[in-house]
């Protein structure tokens, strides 16, 4: 009789264990999801920031070319100096501000630096956000040595 009585509630115990496993699974699933989503958001934010920075650099580059063209008949004739443009604090600040605004609009903060340099016939722009490197490039023929 004792042995039979001991079987009472076994289904309840198993059910309680299953419910516990289920609850733990739900919590674990939620935690993993939060991490995956946070990673995806950080990736998107970094991309938005570097795209914005690249667009700001492209604007500065276009203005620089316009300025050179406007003085094409000057003596001596001016030439496009993209390296100087990219190291100009105003250009760097414009790129950084654009990246910061894009990051802020996507719910994150960006307070790092934006690097821009000539690489062949392109301008490469890169920044670090949330531990990741994000890069963009734009065609800039004036970059290539002649």
């Amino acid at each position: 009789m004792d042995a039979v009585n001991g079987e009472r509630g076994q289904a309840l115990v198993i059910a309680a264990v299953l419910v516990g496993i289920g609850a733990l699974s739900i919590v674990g699933l939620r935690l993993v999801q939060e991490r995956v989503l946070a990673n995806a958001l950080a990736q998107d934010t970094g991309e938005a920031a570097v795209e914005a920075a690249a667009a700001a650099v492209a604007d500065a580059y276009a203005r620089h070319l316009d300025s050179v063209r406007a003085h094409v008949f000057d003596v001596p004739r001016p030439t496009a100096d993209v390296v100087a443009l990219l190291t100009d604090p105003a250009t760097r600040e414009a790129a950084r501000a654009a990246a910061a605004e894009a990051a802020a609009r996507n719910g994150a903060a960006f307070d790092g630096a934006v690097e821009a340099r000539c690489a062949g016939a392109t301008i490469e722009i890169e920044l670090h956000h949330a531990g990741r490197l994000h890069r963009a490039a734009l065609q800039a023929d004036a970059c290539s040595p002649r």
């Binding site: 419910v19 914005a52 700001a56």
Partner: protein, 131 residues
């Protein structure tokens, strides 16, 4: 001895609803995660399309095309600023465009009064398009 007969069945019948609720909750949590990721990806792609085209039709088309595996007809979207308002109706290059979307998760047994889950996401991009 005869009083114990069928006890396990009775106990199982008692806890079965709880087990079903837990199983349903697991499915819902997984569905929510998929929906959040898909919607985030879709809004980012749509905002990028908007940054390049400044065209609401392109933005909504991109959103619908990239929101898979979610049903695009369950997705509602908003674009700010609107296409017919400044700065987008002039020269918007350099300004920001935000695409927001929400998705109502279909809940099994929703007819018994289970709450509806609405997933939202948004993404912003700097407009690169020039008139």
């Amino acid at each position: 001895m005869s009083g114990d007969r069928g006890q396990a069945i009775v106990e199982f019948a008692l806890v079965l609803p709880t087990l079903l609720v837990v199983a349903l909750a697991m499915v819902l949590v997984a569905e929510l995660g998929v929906a959040r990721l898909a919607l985030q990806h879709a809004t980012a792609e749509a905002a990028r399309a908007g940054a390049l085209t400044n065209d609401d039709a392109q933005i909504r088309g991109t959103l619908a095309a990239t929101v898979a595996p979610l049903a695009s007809e369950r997705v509602t979207s908003a674009i700010a600023p609107p296409q017919d308002e400044p700065p987008r109706n002039g020269d918007p290059r350099g300004s920001m465009l935000t695409v927001s979307a929400s998705y109502t998760l279909p809940v099994p047994l929703g007819f018994v009064g289970l709450p509806r889950f609405v997933v939202t996401a948004s993404a912003s991009r700097r407009i690169e398009w020039m008139p």
